[in-house]
């Protein structure tokens, strides 16, 4: 009995040797803020669907994590984000792929679930649903973080000079 909430901020963690105490404290503080966002829904007898929505929105708003505001860059220096949500009651689901500009992609996934008969929508069609649902859009500057930009430049440079290693965490985003 009682609620349970779990979150993740991705498996592409900094190697332990590169993680400074300050940086580690910042990650733990961000994860704590995210848990609080979801917990406040469940403590008020809210639904699991609303709790995961609130928690993932908080994760998307944290530039430390690879989603929403902290999303990594494509090789063209742009953003293409994906999101999904699923309700354990009756297998209702919504998902979006290849979108940019929406502040919280998880809200768009939920709009696909609640406002259409579809499960997965991509690109401009998905963005039309975001506008119809009145979701918040942000400009490119909102999604820019120096660290992600530097990661892209380093990746492209290593690709160009043939020094890109095959560290699995590169595939973690």
């Amino acid at each position: 009995s009682g609620f349970v909430l779990a979150i993740h901020g991705g498996a592409g963690v900094l190697p332990r040797d590169d993680m400074s105490p300050e940086r580690e404290a910042a990650y733990h503080a961000a994860l704590g803020r995210v848990l609080a966002a979801g917990q406040s829904v469940l403590t008020a007898d809210g639904a699991a669907l609303d709790a995961v929505t609130a928690a993932v929105m908080a994760l998307e708003d944290e530039p430390l994590f690879n989603a929403g505001r902290g999303a990594v860059f494509t090789r063209d220096g742009r953003h293409e984000m994906d999101a999904a949500i699923m309700d354990g009651r009756g297998r209702r689901a919504g998902a979006v792929a290849g979108i940019a500009g929406v502040r919280n992609p998880v809200l768009l996934a939920r709009a696909v679930m609640e406002r259409t008969d579809h499960v997965l929508m991509a690109g401009t069609g998905a963005l039309q649903i975001a506008r119809a649902a009145g979701l918040a859009f942000e400009d490119d500057a909102y999604f820019y973080t120096q660290e992600r930009w530097d990661s892209l430049q380093e990746t492209l440079r290593m690709e160009a000079d043939g020094t890109l290693d095959d560290d699995p965490s590169r595939r973690h985003g």
Binding site: S1, G2, F3, V4, L5, A6, I7, H8, G9, A11, G12, V13, R16, Y27, G32, V34, G38, Q39, L42, A47, A48, A51, V52, T53, A55, V56, L59, E60, F65, N66, A67, G70, A71, V72, T74, R75, H79, E80, M81, D82, A83, A84, I85, M86, D87, G88, A93, A95, A97, G98, N104, P105, L152, T155, E159, P168, S169, R171, H172, G173
Partner: protein, 133 residues
């Protein structure tokens, strides 16, 4: 990639995942996050799952659905199914990453086969906990 799974006081489950993808990825490349049954899944009778890692490997294994199927068809406990899929199956095809998986009885596992995973959890009446490595 980020995600959450939750069990509410009414006993219902839900899961959500969101991602920016992979640094330097080709335009149009989609990973497992938006694919229901790969990176995101929830069914009140089995489990809620959100995954993160090597998207192509998670898609090939249909990781979240595999955990659900092991529970539903193989009568495996969720924690055993989730660990087997990440530690055995994912590693066996050279994939890496992790996931959070929650069952309707409140059982929770957060396995990963790589260096770490930013993660946290909180239970009704308990203190929140966060981990990295």
């Amino acid at each position: 990639t980020v995600g959450a799974v939750a069990l509410d006081r009414a006993g219902n489950l839900a899961a959500a995942t969101s991602t920016g993808g992979m640094t330097g990825k080709r335009a149009g490349r989609i990973g497992d996050s938006p694919i229901i049954g790969a990176g995101t899944f929830a069914d009140d009778t089995t489990c809620a799952v959100s995954a993160t890692g090597d998207g192509e490997a998670f898609i090939r294994l249909l990781v979240a659905h595999e955990i659900d199927a092991r529970i539903r068809l193989g009568a495996q406990p969720m924690s055993e199914a989730a660990r087997a899929v990440v530690i055995d199956d994912l590693s066996a095809i050279g994939g890496s990453g992790g996931l959070i998986s929650l069952a309707r009885d409140g059982a929770l596992v957060m396995p990963f086969n790589c260096e770490g995973m930013y993660r946290g959890c909180v239970r009704d009446g308990g203190a929140p906990e966060t981990h990295i490595y």
